[in-house]
Symmetry: C2
Subunit: 348 residues, 2 copies
């Protein structure tokens, strides 16, 4: 089932260049932080959990040419690299969570020799990668209980193996359901402007022999009404303390349409996608991307020259529109503030 979206080669971060899919499956080696930064910016690697892994490995890349002899210098370098990678894209919190984790570890081990400190950071980045693999499978297992034989499922963007280390969040649920022998069909929204649904999700699901039908985003409502949809799964890029979730643009639309048509709507995301420092979705920074993503296709213009464009890459779905959030610990349901803290912090 799995794709190898990202891995550490010992010398480079090896990623699938997702801008080339589905036409070509091309791997690229990011051998320095700058190359990785641009790969993130240009969506060659994308998806909140995959960005978490990429950020951790990015720190390792930043240490490759470190020639200093003091751990304090090394920690300084870690902080610089974290600061730089943190400026690549603003919305997915997994990226920042990974960077904080790496930085905190460096700071806590500043008294260790350079070689040890490097080894500790290396082990931590690998642990983040391995944890993502395990956590996606755990979410898959919990989420798969929601899929019954014969169901019609809907999803938006790509929350698959290509958005994580190798298995996926929303699509991981579908993989787990298939592994459990369930039969179901999937409608994948193409996800404008960059067509991650058409290019990546359709590719992944077909590769894994799951029955997928591609639709344009504006067809979701009529599919719910005329074909019937039983359940919707999406990923998330950042979830606030109250369960509000930022995810790919179009997710909020889908949640409103789901409510209107009585379709259960689930977000699938690991603990690392939660940002408990913020209370609601209003505090999540939403990346706006360049107009050309909307006004042209490749080099061919598809809109009048100079037209004004609004191109937010994400939107925020209020938790009130959700049936639940599938995590590695199980499915969190309303009341979200209480249950998110109970599950994630064990403090209730």
């Amino acid at each position: 089932m799995a794709v190898q979206t990202i891995r550490w080669t010992g010398n480079a971060v090896r990623i699938i260049d997702q801008t080339r899919l589905p036409n070509k499956l091309v791997y690229i080696n990011c051998r320095d932080v700058d190359t990785l930064w641009h790969a993130i910016k240009e969506l060659k690697v994308r998806g909140a959990p995959a960005l978490g892994v990429a950020a951790a490995y990015g720190v390792l890349l930043g240490l490759k040419d470190f020639k200093g002899s003091s751990s304090a210098q090394l920690v300084g370098r870690v902080c610089e690299v974290c600061d730089y990678i943190g400026k690549s894209r603003p919305t997915a919190v997994n990226l920042f969570n990974s960077l904080s984790q790496m930085q905190a570890l460096a700071l806590n081990n500043v008294d260790k020799p350079v070689a040890i400190l490097k080894a500790v950071l290396w082990a931590e980045a690998n642990a983040i990668y391995e944890e993502d693999r395990a956590v996606c499978r755990a979410m898959g297992k919990h989420g798969a209980t929601l899929i019954k034989n014969g169901m019609t499922v809907m999803t938006v963007c790509n929350a698959g193996g290509l958005a994580t280390a190798d298995y996926g969040t929303a699509l991981g649920v579908m993989y787990a359901a298939k592994e459990a022998g369930k039969k179901f069909k999937v409608y994948a929204l193409e996800t404008r402007p960059l067509l991650q649904g058409a290019r990546l999700t359709a590719w992944e699901l077909m590769k894994n022999k799951i029955d997928v039908t591609l639709i344009c985003d504006n067809m979701a409502a009529t599919v719910m009404k005329t074909k019937g949809v039983d359940i919707i799964f999406t990923g998330a890029d950042r979830i606030a303390s109250n369960g509000d979730a930022a995810n790919k643009i179009g997710t909020y639309m889908l949640a409103v349409l789901a409510q209107h048509h009585g379709v259960p709507f689930y977000v699938v995301a690991p603990k690392t996608t939660f940002d408990l420092k913020i209370k609601t979705g209003k505090e999540i920074p939403i990346e706006e991307r360049k107009p050309e993503e909307v006004t042209s296709f490749g080099l061919r213009p598809t809109a009048p020259k100079g037209v004004k464009v609004f191109n937010p890459a994400f939107d925020v779905t209020p938790s009130g529109l959700m049936s639940g959030i599938v995590t590695e610990y199980g499915i969190i349901r309303a009341p979200y503030v209480k249950n998110i803290h109970k599950v994630l912090l064990y403090d209730a």
Copy 2:
């Protein structure tokens, strides 16, 4: 304000090739029925009212090479041509209404000499064209009363001059509001898969110096929530007796989102778009178009080869989601069955 979307040259139906916009403004002359049929099928000319005009002129094209001497033969030819044009696209009822009108006129005048019969048909087609021009301006005037200074307006697909003889339905309302000195801004949905919003509506509105911002279809919900939208206008391709309206795919989505966000939602359409032979929207045939519209851009694939696609060109918006239907006679509001009949048939 006006564009010359379609006109009769005396020898040909001259249309703007809308598949070339916004990059090139190219006129083509359809000199025979077959060329016109393919222009309709390939959306070189599109929009329900424009299709009504095209169909009427198409009948004239079909008579160009008529060599017979009897009016009965001529009427036979009219019936054949109407039958053929009626197979081009199934959803917009204006096309069928025009064809019925031309055919009925021919049948009612079968006792006239060939030359007179031809002249009668020519006059009827021109009347259909002139009526569209007048009717769009009347709808514009009624609809413009709904736009207040400073409002934010939203629209989908192209219900502009390019969808009619020259002025537009939903966009006609905006042109009339502008002519009345009102200031407002417009969000135009790009309208996948064929981008009529990006290519045609943005082009028309910019040409007419109306403040337009282009968004992808999946951004409409977040624009309503975060930017605020005051009113929505769309066109229609066929309206049932109860007010249910088929229009470009994505319109139903927009109506559901409008209801959720409390945004008034108006359909703008002339009498010729109503199909009082059908009771509800369930009876409207919905055209499904080829998968390639969704899976490729020009010759470049954007989805995996062989992926299944659902590509309905239209959806149906239940009248319960509408604030009203703007017609040339005024704004029709609920209860729709009663008021549609009252306004259109003067029988209440």
